[in-house]
Amino acid sequence: MGEASPSHPLLELTRARVLEFVREREAVFWVFVFPVLLALALGVAFRVRPVEKLRVGVVGDEGGQVTAALRAAADLEVVLLPDGEAEQQRRAGKLDLTVLCQRGEGGEGGVRLRLDPTRPESRTARLAVREALGGSTPTLVPILAEERVTAPGSRYIDFLVPGLVGLNLMGSGMWGIGFSVVVARTRKLLKRLAATPMRRSHYLLSFALSRLAFLVLEVAAVVGFGWVVFGVGVEGPLAVLALVCLVGALCFAGLGLLVAARPRSIEAVSGWLNLVMLPMWLLSGTFFSYERFPAVTHGAIRALPLTALNDALRAVMNRGVGLTATLPQLAVLGLWGIASFVVAVRIFRWQ
């Protein structure tokens, strides 16, 4: 006769969702491979200069001794610059490292190195400069100090990677959920499920839960790629990054359900998804900062869920902030997510 304890419907629905997703190769490509390719293409396109030569700025080398020593190193390109100009270029990522020469009191001179240790090029340049200046004995020029100046998000790729994480969370949530729901509706699977004692909220929740199953992989793919290939680090706590991604994913799961709540055809839901997402592609600062839009629009732009997610991701990844600083953005995401889930459950078309 009957089985004693069948597994929980929510678990089964989520498992079914996950299996259906992994078995759809196209979806896997769009969620995992595409954003990485996009990051690669954009990261390469917006690189300031090729990697091979490390550009080092020298400030105040009156005797020319330092410059000569550095020029002797094969992989360094040395430019002489005034202090202000050198700092500007370094901040813009055009210089990997600045060598500031100091004349000591009794002729005992030395140099200070100024670099951004979060940039891999700068770290390489640091090693090359140290070797060029101090590799031989007796030490040619003593290195008096190292100034580590972290200028977060100074490169385009630093700005881009968090944006791509956000964009990917939005895209996979909304397309993934929007399409599966409408396909199930056109195939009358929703109607069939409605004829079972399945709780309808379980069905909708299973979409949110299945999103969580992929969240780690999805974020890790983009963040890991940015880190390995472009040295884009996560300055803030990983736990806060995880929380921001989690809330962001749930928010877009809710929005995806809302968009998919009524349409009867794939064409219709595609249109709606584009209508909802396109403004955020443009406005929410994924590819360029929304600061470029007139200041009067910033309030509205910040109220968009993707803006909130991107801002929070950049704050954690680039500026290294903690939980408290991301609370306003988390609140925006939470409100969007809860509101859209509640409305979706109410207006959902089962047949």
Binding site: M1, G2, E3, P6, S7, H8, P9, L11, E12, L13, R15, A16, L19, E20, R23, E24, A184, R187, K188, L189, K191, R192, A194, A195, T196, P197, M198, Q351
Partner: protein, 297 residues
């Protein structure tokens, strides 16, 4: 009664299905069969009138309990193609507090060898048996089948019929819709013939056929027209109809009617192109009642 905009899908329907019975709604496409079962399944709400199932009405606080007790197969539901047979049945099993074991259900519908096959790879008949498994896994008291064998080959149809008969033999109640008169005749204890949203006849298949009062049906195509009144007046003939060039005679005494028909054709100098006779069926009952064939829609 159920209306869709200007169209009244079902009206003046009055029927009662007994426990343990197999009841068939027979009619062409658009007759209102699906609307009727979906009202009973709680998937649509009637605009007027009432429907009661297992002593309860839908929307009065017993919906979940009712859904626990019924098994449903809808017309052309496509289950998720990327799940396997086993995963699909397991999913449906999880919705029910009580029910049949998953592998046992799969064995019941004869899909054990296909349990790890993706749904998308199944044949039409296998998909339909899987749909049945999703209904049977609930161990329902009532099984609703909406055109369970439409589009299936004869072999697959026989397998489905076997499953329905087995469910019945264990005391289950079946409400079935079909536009195949063979299906209704084979499975149903009672048949309601539906057309344009109304029940136009309701009885056992045997009584419905007997109501024609004909022992044989004669169909023929002739080279020229013959007045229907003359055909109907032939000895042994009870009624005559004609559609699409085919004349149909309901014959009470074939021994008298056939020679008389041939003589009549000769007298009018009309050549005969084909002639068939068969035992009357539910199809003939439908033609008598509506002037159309079931498959004409």
């Amino acid at each position: 009664m159920k209306r869709f905009g200007e169209v009244t899908a079902v009206a003046h329907l009055d029927l009662e299905v007994q426990r343990g019975e197999c009841f068939a709604l027979l009619g062409p496409n658009g007759a209102g069969k699906t609307t009727t079962v979906e009202i009973l399944e709680g998937l649509q709400r009637q605009d007027a009138g009432s429907a009661e199932l297992l002593g309860h009405r839908w929307g009065e606080g017993h919906d979940l309990e009712l859904r626990q007790r019924i098994g449903v197969q809808l017309q052309d539901t496509q289950l998720g193609e990327r799940l396997t047979v086993f995963e699909t049945v397991r999913l449906f099993r999880s919705f029910y507090a009580r029910g049949r074991e998953v592998n046992e259900t799969i064995a019941l519908v004869g899909l054990t060898e296909k349990r790890h096959a993706r749904v998308g790879k199944l044949s039409g008949g296998q998909k339909q048996r899987l749909a049945l498994a999703c209904a049977l896994v609930a161990q329902p008291e009532i099984l609703f089948l909406d055109e369970p064998t439409t589009g299936l080959d004869p072999q697959a149809r026989l397998q489905i019929w076997g499953l329905v008969e087995r469910f019945r033999s264990e005391g289950g109640t079946v409400l079935l819709t079909t536009h195949y008169m063979e299906e209704a005749a084979r499975l149903a204890d009672r048949v309601a013939i539906m057309d344009h949203g109304r029940i136009i006849a309701l009885d056992t298949p045997a009584h419905l056929v007997a109501s024609l009062g004909a022992e044989q049906i004669v169909e023929f195509e002739a080279a020229g027209p013959l007045p229907l009144e003359r055909l109907a007046a032939l000895p042994g003939v009870r009624a005559a109809t004609r559609r699409n060039g085919t004349s149909t005679l309901e014959v009470a005494a074939i021994g008298e009617a056939l020679p008389a028909l041939l003589a009549e054709l000769q007298r009018f100098g009309v050549g005969i192109e084909s002639l068939r006779t068969h035992q009357p069926t539910l199809e003939d009952v439908f033609i008598r009642l509506t002037g159309r064939a079931l498959r004409d829609g």
